[in-house]
């Protein structure tokens, strides 16, 4: 299937980009070109912002209960096209269909939660803050917001933000990943079908040029970002310098602590899903196993045995358990990290470099890879690989595990596997990470909770999803009144 040259969606119309610059979008399982994405110009960003700005006043005056009905219609359309959306995600990203379905489900969940905006956006008040004087706090929409989305969840991530922004009465511009733009373009066809007033939702395809134009545009009020730490820092700093609010979810190096009293079989299954699900291309992926005490040897043996059985292939084949990585560039980067791990002296227990997928000779496949005897100072222990590479670090005890996590500059997620409530409580209390798993390998917050993050994994204060999103996309106005 070829989706052709993708268009921008501006002011309720699909418009071809005037930019002559196009990038190929590949199916990572086959290397086939499935679409071409334009690198839109600053002028096109300007037109999208102008359309969003023009739509804002009428949209913010639309009652919240009416705005929420658009969310209901969007949810229904997404349900109706669920399987097709999941297949689109798999085709452009490579993740297996189950994972793509999980992604689309999470996108829908955010629409469902945002549909509660008539309640979520209510303010609060107090009578008699002084004699005869009352005080009210009103939540109001702000204006034009945008998001800069990553490749790894091409359908879901913009939906951590856009449904809330729009439900709150703002207008919106999505800049999808230029590596995986097709899902978001398809979702905008559904948004078009919903029938939002022109300019309420807009899509501009492109790369850094579009991002810079959005970040410096005087009529953009704020930006949401998910991606790497260097880009997150850049976006946060540029947005702040231009007087915008920003929430920037960045890189990760997530540790999974396994205590000696962990339930071994369940722990192994959870670690494998965490490390190798979506071919390790999740910001919540487990990258390091910190095996405490006696569990180290049996855990290691079971992990390697089970990981070696994972079936790698085209994610559209339902028997496949792990798909390809997103691009040839990503594949080469991951292979480079594996080589680096070998050079630095880690013991390669399972080598994914030799994986061969029958019928897909050109796919970007790398199999599950496990290193043992990883030391915290090694490159593969410090840097985010964003691929199916797991490092095992034997540790003496809980305190040593915690010290290693403390030294990691990222703070996106961490998990503990234990049968002890005491260790679980100690872990969630002390560890400096935003998303904590207790006997869970992928600590993914559902839509009613914020997608948290600390240290170099998040820049900002209010996160995507849930009540944080409502706060981010509104201003608080306080009214103090007295009647003579």
């Amino acid at each position: 299937m070829h989706y052709g040259i993708l268009k921008n969606y501006i002011g309720g119309e699909w418009v071809a980009s005037t930019s002559g610059e196009l990038l190929d979008v590949h199916n990572p399982a086959t290397d086939e070109v499935i679409a071409r994405v334009p690198l839109s110009t600053a002028d096109e960003v300007d037109r999208a912002v102008a359309a969003a700005k023009e739509a804002f006043q009428e949209w913010r005056e639309t009652p919240a209960v009416v705005r929420s009905r658009y969310m209901f219609r969007l949810k229904e359309l997404m349900e109706e096209h669920f399987e097709e959306l999941a297949r689109t995600v798999t085709t452009e990203h490579g993740k297996i269909l189950d994972e793509a379905r999980g992604e689309v489900r999470r996108a829908i969940e955010n629409v469902e939660v945002a549909a509660g905006v008539p309640s979520l956006m209510m303010g609060y008040n107090a009578e008699d803050i002084a004699a005869g004087i009352d005080e009210d706090c009103i939540l109001q929409p702000v204006g034009v917001f945008c998001c800069v989305a990553p490749f790894n969840f091409p359908a879901m991530v913009p939906f951590w933000f856009m449904p809330y922004a729009v439900a709150c009465g703002n207008t919106y511009i999505v800049k999808p990943s230029e590596v995986c733009p097709v899902s978001q373009n398809r979702l905008f066809e559904l948004l078009d079908e919903v029938g939002f007033p022109p300019g309420v939702v807009n899509l501009v395809n492109g790369a850094k040029g579009v991002v810079d134009a959005l970040l410096t545009h005087p009529d953009v009020a704020g930006v949401s970002f998910v991606g790497s730490t260097p880009v997150g820092k850049y976006i946060y700093a540029t947005a702040a310098a231009n007087g915008k609010r920003a929430q920037c979810q960045a890189g990760a190096k997530n540790a999974l602590v396994v205590m000696p009293d962990a339930v071994l079989d369940g722990t192994v299954a959870a670690i494998l899903t965490s490390a190798f699900g979506t071919a390790g291309q999740r910001c919540l992926a487990g990258a390091l196993v910190l095996a405490a005490g006696d569990i180290y040897e049996p855990l290691k043996a079971k992990l390697v045995e089970a990981a070696a059985r994972i079936k790698v292939g085209d994610g559209l084949d339902e028997s496949v358990q792990m798909g390809p990585v997103v691009s040839r560039k990503a594949l080469e980067r991951i292979l480079g990290y594996i080589e680096k791990g070998v050079q630095e002296g880690a013991e390669l227990l399972l080598d994914g470099r030799r994986v061969a997928v029958a019928g897909n000779p050109n796919g970007y496949f790398v199999g599950p890879t496990i290193f043992d005897r990883v030391r915290p100072e090694m490159t593969i222990a410090r840097e985010e690989i964003f691929g199916p590479v797991l490092g095992i670090i034997p540790v003496a005890d809980f305190e040593e595990a915690l010290a290693i996590i403390e030294a990691i500059p990222y703070g996106n997620a961490a998990s503990i596997f234990t049968s002890s409530g005491k260790w679980a409580r100690e872990f969630k209390y002390r560890v400096k990470c935003g998303n904590i798993g207790v006997n869970i390998g992928i600590a993914a917050p559902i839509a009613t909770f914020p997608f948290a993050g600390m240290k170099q994994s998040f820049f900002g204060d209010l996160h995507g999803q849930g009540r944080d999103a409502i706060q981010f996309f509104t201003d608080r106005k306080v009214v103090i009144s007295r009647w003579f």
Partner: protein, 130 residues
């Protein structure tokens, strides 16, 4: 074929129900009481499709082992005589019930496992109807 993922199990369940519906629709021309089973299979197909769409929870999509579709294969011939059709129907219902029971024990998602238990019961009671 090994059913090693949530999606593979749901797809196989849907294939079984689709196959059952087609078989009973054809066989119902000879044994009219089997038409009712065709309708029941179509309804179950819709419930399975909904479960696949709504029951997926990414954080516990762990790999599944020890389930193979070959263990539940039944040879069907809707052109057969009445007695043979009834025997085939019985074998189909028994194998399908057994699949749902086995799969329910493996599925990591509780709501879907419960659905599979209910579908197993439906097929078990259908054994007595054919």
């Amino acid at each position: 074929m090994e059913l090693g993922t949530f999606g593979a199990i749901l797809r196989f369940a849907m294939q079984i129900e689709e196959q059952s519906a087609a078989f009973y629709e054809a066989a119902g021309k000879v044994v009219p009481s089997l038409q009712e089973l065709a309708q029941a299979a179509r309804k179950r197909l819709a419930r399975l499709e909904q479960a696949r769409r709504e029951g997926v929870a990414e954080m516990i999509l762990e790999s599944i082992t020890g389930l193979d579709s070959d263990a539940y294969a039944v040879t069907l011939n809707p052109q057969a005589e009445t007695a043979a059709l009834q025997a085939q129907s019985q074998a189909l219902e028994e194998a399908t019930a057994r699949f749902y029971r086995d799969a329910a024990a493996k599925l990591p998602i509780r709501e879907v496992a419960r659905l599979f238990q209910r579908l197993a019961q439906e097929h078990e009671s259908a054994v007595h109807k054919v």
